[in-house]
């Protein structure tokens, strides 16, 4: 699973190596490390954000190991959405029940519409909607887009997808 973790490190040399050690040990795959040297906390520690993938059963071991190394874990959570795409819908977007269209994505559990912008030139004219979708992974994004394409066919909407998805 993919997780993000906020750590606080002492401002002494060698701390980052100690913090990353358990990930190597328990075969975690570090995706990103952001070291906020410029944002020292009032306690004098340095915040670090990690995003990593690891088998769920190993998380406790990683946490214990970090504790042993004297690294404090401020927060750990699922990094749910990693993919984002923008999509345009053209046609009778509102009349064909925009709420339902969005709900078909939201109800998947793995993808969500996170942004929406509408342009309606006139009652008779086709309107356009910009929506931004986030999903938990590449495959999930493909599924969400496939749902949207299907909805487009049913509701006679032109679905304009991006040439590539963007990593968050």
């Amino acid at each position: 699973m993919r997780l993000s973790m906020d750590l606080e490190l002492q401002d002494v040399p060698g701390q980052l190596i100690l913090a990353l050690e358990p990930f190597r040990l328990y075969k975690g795959n570090i995706i990103s490390v952001v070291h906020h040297r410029d944002r020292k906390t009032p306690r004098g520690t340095i915040p670090v954000q990690l995003v990593f993938e690891i088998s769920g059963s190993r998380i406790e071991q990683v946490k214990n190991h970090l504790k042993k190394n004297n690294i404090s874990v401020v927060r750990i959570g699922e990094d749910r959405f990693v993919e984002e795409v923008s999509v345009l819908l053209v046609g009778h977007v509102v009349d064909s029940d925009l709420g339902d269209t969005i709900n078909q994505i939201d109800s998947t559990g793995f993808a969500e519409v996170v942004d929406l912008c509408l342009k309606m030139p006139g009652i008779e004219d086709p309107s356009s909607a910009y929506i931004k979708i986030r999903a938990t992974g590449k495959e999930e994004m493909s599924k969400a887009l496939a749902i949207l394409r299907e909805v487009g066919v049913q509701k006679d909407l032109l679905v304009i997808e991006p040439i590539e998805a963007e990593m968050l």
Partner: protein
Amino acid sequence: MKEIRISQVGCGIVGHGFLEVVRRKRDMLRDLGLDLKIVSVTDHTGTIYEKNGVDPKKVLGVKTLAEGVANSDMKGLEAIEEIESDLVVEVTPTNIDHGQPGLGHMEMALTQGKNVVTSNKGPLVVAFNRLKDLAGENGARLKYEATVGGTMPLISLVERNLVGNNILGIKGIFNGTCNYILTRMMEEGYPYGYALMEAQELGIAEADPAYDVEGIDTAAKMTILANSVFGMNVKYDDIDVTGITDITTESLALARDRGYLIKLIGEVPALTVKPMLVPRRSPLAVGGTLNAASIETDLSGTITVTGLGAGSIETASAILSDIVNIYTTRNIDDRS
């Protein structure tokens, strides 16, 4: 000096361009050791045949050979069959339903072991694999760079320069008319109909624009790419096609506000043609009548080429480089 006797069939926009390009580049071609001799030119009114080479100027001055230029009433098929030549330049109109008259011309030429270079998509859309096999059986070459990307060197890039790579996918803008219309709609806020009218007035769009704006031209090109570059066995109907006629000014504005352009994108091996969002910073974000194509490879990453998709001289230049390739690099890519 290698003499190459050429029978040209079709003498419209591209045909005239080809005659002009051969005339202009005579010296350069000689430096390459090639003496291109156009021994016959046929249009649908007749043929001019000169054993020692037709003077391009004679033909360049007229719209059809019927204007006192033809010296024979041979049709294309007869000219290909009866006149001694090494190569046929086939530049008759495209028909993607039955491929004729080009398909018959190409079959005749290849059967006789004559090389074929063409800008005519029709025969390749209808019968690419059959023509390729026919070429192979008769030791002839079939080259068609001008059918796909206009001046963008796409087929030769893949076949020659990227040799050794697996081509994972090709996507891009393959129709200058659509690109022009979408560019004007976005930049000027024109409605679709107005941008189309402007394109027609400028001679960028045909009086009947369906072939371009409904995505048919792009889909024909995807069919050719799928069969040639990806070794598939695809028919025109296998391509999922949506054109640009439903694109609205508002949708373009919405896209622009978020950093996107809308372009008609053809993709293989996905076999789709549809309007898509292209990030402004993407190398595919070209405007006007330009075409652009990104080739995704396993070793070389993604390579993008861009160039003019159509035009008389531009298309003829692609035909000329195919010819030069045939006679200067026979050993390198004789796989085809």
